[in-house]
């Protein structure tokens, strides 16, 4: 399929301004007659739905939680970037653009990223006006911190709960539109299919999660803001409900899925404690500013209490291998290094799959009080979960899946390859290339929802002003609905002997081992076969209790796991195809002699977008060539 990126012509810094002044508008009278469906009420979805409502469109918004305020965005801790340059430390739109492109290992579209950097400043203004209580300094102005190894302080934050506060802001704007009747909110509803009429997205099929009823909803355009798919690994820092179903159903209806193999593994999470583990908890990256990462030099020391291991027997491996950046190397580098030392048998803790993050020196240097002021809440959380006191013994940490850069392929307007279907936030692939910088996901979600889609969707909707209200009696709705019903009944009727969680864990193990931090072509080819077998086994042996027409969380999970397995197969295809190492994707065969990632810009400076062919094991690849006209491609080096 030919992928048209719709990037505007002209100078990079003027593209978005020019686009905005030439995009066709929809008159207020026409907006009143146009319906938009927004699936998802995280930062991207809630901000989009609220803004569409303010503009006068009729909006239907959906989420599977019991309230839009509980979307996974709520859990983001660290902060949100914006090129405000309030600290006068030399930040600018260009610098944020450049850092994002470079951080993404040159695998993102320049024009999208520049636009993101441009609107970042408006986001902060908007959020403050909504009452988001960002941290302030004693002069009453907004405070910033430096995040994720960049050289400027451009990260705005609200204690360790930035995502919560931003989401509550977007949710309040959404609630205002709900009260006005501009947005109709469908909570505890799950989208289970996309409906297309004459090739255009015209609605969705959703299940009311309380009654089990299957509903048809029509609209002139559909926006998916349904988040990321990190839960394909079973264990991740994502919320339990995060899933790929909405995007996957759209993929099966013709939306191409881009760069599925780009996953971000966060280096500082609380390690797995045992088989019972259901999710992993992130420990903010800021800890690496003062904590030192180490493991014992000798395997025999691994079982000793950390404080009994003398200085000369410790290996501060990040400081040793990367003297220039030390403990502050980017996420992917720090994660891989932890994997290597534990593979060597030098991991610590009960399971041997962890490394130390030690604050002993920081406490000596700064005093316990300062350390407590900086990280007290994180130390408390750590202690509550592990029952260990990080003031007295080092934390144990290990990398965990955190974010998925891949997602539905979108053009400059955030339109997918299905006309009338848009994707925003973590659900699309657009801005982070092969690796996302810290504090940039919140920025992207709100940029898409508040400032990008409200303009770009007009370009499509201006062609729909004569289209009548979508008739949900159209045969396309009937067809999609009966497919959804058949699929659900098929699941219920299996009545095998394995639980959904059994399968989800099995899937996660394969993905983590073979499509995680360190990947190899041959092993992934085998793993893909295993996934195909797992899919068949799932459809033959899964057991779902209860009934279709009731509140049935196991049934919800089953549908999601079925889709995640298929996604896993596609991730393998994508990772096998990409014969290079870039960002979050590390192929053992494509590394320098020192074991560092080796990009292949000649062959792989493209977006890999996959088309569904009817067989989940046989997707078809299309390529969008990336053009770099404003930055020079460089090798990342942190030595």
């Amino acid at each position: 399929m030919k992928l048209v990126s719709k990037e505007p012509e002209g100078i990079l810094s003027e593209k978005w301004t020019n686009y905005k002044s030439s995009v066709p508008l929809v008159s207020p009278a026409n907006k009143r007659r146009i319906d938009i469906i927004v699936v998802g009420t995280g930062l991207a979805g809630a901000s989009a739905a609220a803004t569409f409502g303010e503009l006068g469109y009729n909006v239907k918004a959906f989420c599977f939680q019991d309230s839009p305020r509980r979307a996974h965005s709520i859990a983001a801790q660290g902060g949100i970037n914006a090129a405000k340059n309030y600290q006068n430390d030399g930040d600018s739109v260009y610098r944020l653009f450049y850092d994002t492109i470079k951080g993404g290992d040159y695998r993102a579209r320049e024009s999208n990223v520049h636009r993101l950097a441009e609107v970042s400043t408006n986001i902060i203004d908007q959020c403050v006006a909504q009452g988001v209580p960002f941290a302030r300094d004693y002069g009453g102005l907004l405070a910033n911190r430096s995040f994720g190894g960049v050289q400027v302080s451009r990260t705005f934050y609200a204690r360790g709960q930035t995502g919560q506060q931003l989401l509550l802001g977007a949710y309040s704007a959404l609630s205002r539109q709900i009260a006005k009747g501009q947005v109709k909110m469908y909570k505890r509803h799950e989208m289970l299919d996309l409906v297309k009429i004459d090739g255009h997205a015209k609605g969705i099929i959703a299940r009311n999660l309380i009654t089990g009823e299957i509903e048809r909803h029509g609209a002139h355009a559909v926006v998916l803001a349904t988040g990321g798919y990190g839960n394909v690994y079973f264990l991740s820092t994502n919320a339990m409900g995060s899933n790929v179903t909405a995007a996957w159903k759209a993929h099966k209806r013709g939306a191409l899925f881009a760069n599925p193999c780009y996953t971000q593994i966060h280096p500082t999470c609380i390690p797995v404690a045992g088989e019972h583990q259901s999710k992993l908890t992130l420990m903010s990256e800021s800890l690496r500013n003062d904590g030192r990462v180490w493991v014992p030099k000798h395997k025999i020391d691994c079982v000793k209490p950390a404080r009994n291991i003398p200085e000369q027997d410790r290996d501060y491996y990040l400081e040793r291998i990367y003297p220039a950046f030390g403990n502050l190397v980017p996420r992917d580098v720090a994660s891989r290094a932890a994997l290597y030392v534990t593979n060597e048998g030098r991991g610590v803790g009960k399971t041997g799959v962890a490394v130390y993050l030690d604050f002993e020196d920081a406490i000596k240097r700064l005093g316990k009080d300062t350390v407590e002021a900086r990280y007290g809440n994180l130390f408390e959380m750590y202690q509550r979960i592990t029952d260990e006191n990080p003031y007295e013994q080092p934390m144990r940490i290990f990398p965990a899946v955190h974010y998925t850069m891949g997602g539905l392929w979108v053009d400059y307007e955030l339109g997918t390859t299905v006309p009338g279907l848009y994707a925003a936030g973590e659900a699309n692939f657009s801005d982070h290339g092969a690796n996302r910088l810290g504090a940039s996901a919140l920025m992207q979600g709100l940029a898409d929802g508040y400032f990008v889609l409200p303009y770009t969707i007009g370009s499509y909707l201006s062609t729909q002003i004569r289209a009548p209200k979508v008739d949900t009696q159209h045969p396309a709705f009937a067809e999609a609905e009966s497919e959804v019903k058949e699929n659900l009944s098929a699941l219920m009727n299996i009545q095998g002997d394995r639980t959904v969680d059994d399968f989800h864990k099995a899937l996660g193990k394969i993905m983590w081992k073979e499509c995680g931090m360190s990947r190899h072509g041959e092993r992934m080819t085998e793993a893909k076969e295993k996934l195909g077998n797992l899919r068949e086994e799932f459809w033959g042996k899964v057991r779902i209790p209860g009934r279709l027409e009731e509140f049935n969380p196991e049934l919800e999970k089953a549908g999601r796991v079925a889709d995640l397995i298929e996604l896993g197969e596609l991730m393998m295809d994508d990772a096998i195809n990409r014969n290079e190492s870039c960002g979050g994707h590390f192929r053992e065969e494509f590394a320098t002699e020192e074991g560092e990632a080796q990009r292949d810009d000649k062959k792989f400076t493209y977006v890999a977008a996959w088309e569904h062919t009817g067989n989940p094991a046989k997707a078809k690849l299309s390529k969008e060539k990336l053009k770099f006209e404003n930055v020079e491609l460089k090798t990342r080096s942190y030595k």
Binding site: I74, Q164, S172, Q277, S278, F551
Partner: protein
């Protein structure tokens, strides 16, 4: 550890619920409470029984989904801790643990431990926002805000909307929740313009939803997993009375 769980089972909103006892084995003290519930549910499914329905999502203490009433306390025995962050080391081997939903007339039970807290959303819809459209904002630093005020607003804003305050209150009052939201917005210069109207219409909606009145027992503050302070209730009362007198 081995435990006996006494769990509230109710198949739908109109069914008459009852307690059922279940024994679970092999519980590790490092498991979270919800991971222990996962063990129970896996066991029930394998036995061909209906698993216990409960709400949860982030399992990090921030989304406010989880809501179990454990041994007579919302979110269980640990202070300032949500159900999902409670860990099994809080219990002893062979303990019996009583697990119920958050009970209040305004939180109808959907199934087992899952309840409908939409009333909270409807209260927010009545004024839990600042009326500013996207694109209408001035520069974020145009109005400096005293750090102390910003911090106090943030303290109130950390409410996760879980409903433990309601479940803890003998009157099922939602004052702590409502006051936290009102205080957060009314304290900030951006929220001042609508402050009186906000207080009145949110309180009216709270009453319309059937939440009880506040008789200052402060059980809410004691059980709130986020340590939301009852001083917010005093702040709300001031806004409310001020606005009522004013007009």
């Amino acid at each position: 550890m081995q435990l006996t769980l006494r769990v509230w089972r109710q198949s739908n909103p109109s069914a008459k619920g009852e307690f059922e006892n279940y024994d679970v084995y092999g519980i590790d003290k490092d498991m979270s409470f919800l991971e222990m519930m996962d063990v129970l549910n896996q066991q029930l499914i394998k036995e061909g029984k209906d698993p216990v329905a409960f709400d949860h999502d982030c399992r990090e203490g921030i989304c406010g989904s989880c809501n179990m009433y454990i041994n007579g306390r919302p979110h269980g025995p640990w202070d300032k801790t949500t159900t999902c962050q409670l860990h099994m080391r809080a219990f002893e081997d062979r303990d019996t643990i009583v697990i119920e939903p958050f009970r209040a007339n305004s939180f109808p039970i959907i199934k087992d431990l899952a309840v409908d807290r939409s009333a909270f959303d409807r209260i927010i819809e009545k004024g839990g926002y600042i009326s500013v459209n996207t694109g209408n904002a001035m520069d974020a630093n145009a109005i400096p805000i005293e750090k102390e005020i910003a911090d106090t607003a943030m303290d109130a804003a950390t409410c996760i909307g879980c409903g433990a305050c309601v479940a803890a209150c003998k009157n099922s009052s939602a004052m702590l929740f409502v006051s936290a939201k009102v205080a957060h917005l009314n304290m900030l210069p951006q929220g001042k313009v609508e402050s009186g109207e906000r207080a009145i219409s949110m309180v009216n909606q709270m009453d319309a939803e059937g939440f009880g009145s506040c008789t200052n027992t402060y059980a809410c503050e004691a059980e709130c997993p986020k340590g939301i302070s009852v001083t917010n209730i005093a702040r709300l009362n001031r806004s409310f009375i001020g606005a009522s007198i004013g007009g």
